[in-house]
């Protein structure tokens, strides 16, 4: 191996060498980025779809298959074809017989450090939240991040009452977070000691999401059907 090599171009150059260096390096770098982006994009999209699918089954434990639906301009829901970027999506979960067991909905709200993004499962039969998964949060490690890791806290969402008032169609009870160990009603969330703000943030974002999305979803429950059902309907149509 040779010793110290000559230094970087010392002579004062004209404009051309500078343009040549910047544009040349820029072009090669751009090409490299585009190549890596194109190569990894299908893998990243597959990973994201798998992660979301896994999350849907986690928040709807009785579901055996799922299907993504998109909200239309007429406030109905149709199966999503292609990519639904920017659209309001709902994930339907179905049992072995193809019956709807519930829907998984994304929700977000401000936590202690940043916005908390969650996916929760709602069962129309039980009129309750039946599972939750934190998709993204920057809550304090060891304290606020217990909303993801604390099993006792997760137990709040096994069956969290989110029923609708039959008269008004709005949420019958507002979901609230209470001090750890003082939960008395099925719509209360037993908070985490040392993470009061994060616990309350979870209750707030769920209450707002339930109030704004469930009444319409309840009315349009008929829109949610699995692929098998589509095939059966297709065969029945002359």
């Amino acid at each position: 191996m040779s010793g110290v090599a000559p230094n970087i171009a010392e002579a004062r150059p004209g404009m051309w060498p500078m343009y040549r260096a910047m544009v040349g390096v820029g072009l090669v770098c751009g090409l490299l980025i585009v190549t890596v982006f194109q190569t990894t994009l299908p893998i990243i999209e597959r990973n994201q779809a798998e992660a979301l699918q896994k999350a849907v089954f986690q928040v709807l434990p009785d579901a055996r298959s799922s299907r993504t639906f998109v909200r239309t301009g007429e406030d109905t829901f149709v199966p999503l074809e292609g990519k639904g970027k920017g659209a309001e999506l709902v994930y339907g979960g179905f049992d072995e017989a193809g019956a709807l067991v519930g829907v998984a909905i994304e929700a977000g709200g401000m936590g202690y450090a940043d916005v908390i993004h969650v996916l929760y499962g709602y069962s129309f039969d039980q009129e309750a939240i039946v599972g939750i998964r934190v998709l993204g949060s920057k809550e304090t490690p060891g304290l606020g991040d217990k909303i993801e890791t604390d099993e006792a806290f997760q137990q709040n969402f096994v069956r969290l009452d989110a029923s609708l008032d039959p008269a008004t169609g709005a949420a019958a009870h507002g979901i609230v977070a209470v001090k750890s160990g003082t939960k008395q009603n099925p719509w209360e969330i037993d908070g985490i000691t040392g993470a009061t703000i994060s616990s309350k943030a979870m209750a707030d974002l769920l209450r707002k999401s339930i109030g704004s999305r469930i009444p319409l979803l309840r009315d349009r429950e008929i829109d949610f059907h699995d692929r098998e059902n589509d095939l059966r309907e297709g065969e029945a149509t002359p």
Binding site: A5, I8, A9, V25, I33, V36, K138, P141, G142
Partner: protein, 215 residues
């Protein structure tokens, strides 16, 4: 009588970054990721390896282009090269594991402004051959990864009672939550700097005694 100065060998080039000129414990460079993502050993290892990849690639490219890049635009060109490899690393980590990408967060992108990488490009790669620059990048990257692991290991063991996600103490261990918070990063770094400085002082003392005996 002074010893004749010898040119550094390939091994010296690699070892210096790992120990004698360790970027974290000796040069105290790149403190932002060192303190931010060393809350678990896994995050520390991933960030260390990502930084090492960027360091090696940037050193290799910058060294091979050193005669082509005019002095006036060198910093802009170095940043362009470094940012490219950081973007590559970001996509690759996202393709390997979304959870890891989520855990490292913005700190992958912030490798661009890690002064260790620009520092090695300017101080070493722009003046040395490709092979020496790659060895320098490997050594400095390994030293950075080693330092991050030292911090991440201690913080995860004390803060979560586990190492690489494996539970070490089972029931009955009270986590020192402060160790995985930012302040825990400062405490651990201070403790490691203390250890390194003591080792350095002891080595210098021994060298002085040996020199005295020889004379």
């Amino acid at each position: 009588m002074s010893e004749p100065r010898r040119d550094p060998t390939s091994t010296d080039e690699f070892i210096k970054g790992l120990w004698k000129e360790n970027p974290v414990f000796v040069q105290v460079l790149g403190m932002c990721p060192v303190l931010a993502v060393s809350n678990t050993a896994e995050n520390a290892l991933a960030m260390g390896l990502a930084t090492m990849f960027v360091l090696v690639m940037a050193n290799a490219v910058i060294s091979s282009l050193r005669r082509f890049i005019p002095k006036q635009v060198r910093i802009a060109t170095y940043i362009l090269v470094i940012a490219t490899f950081v973007t590559v690393v970001e996509y690759v980590i996202q393709a390997i594991s979304l959870d890891l990408h989520k855990a490292l967060g913005a700190f992958i992108s912030l490798i661009v402004v890690n002064c260790l990488i620009l520092g090695r490009a300017e101080a070493f790669a722009s003046k040395n051959t490709v092979s020496r620059s790659v060895l320098d990048g490997l050594g400095m990257g390994a030293g950075f990864t080693f330092a991050l692991l030292c911090l991440g290991g201690v913080r995860e063991i004390m803060g979560s009672g586990s190492l690489f996600g494996v539970d070490l103490f089972h029931e009955g261990y009270q986590d020192w939550v402060i160790m995985i918070l930012p302040s825990g990063g400062f405490f651990t770094l201070a403790a490691w700097l203390l250890v390194f400085n003591r080792l350095k002082a002891r080595r210098e003392r021994r060298a002085a005694v040996t020199a005295e005996v020889m004379s």
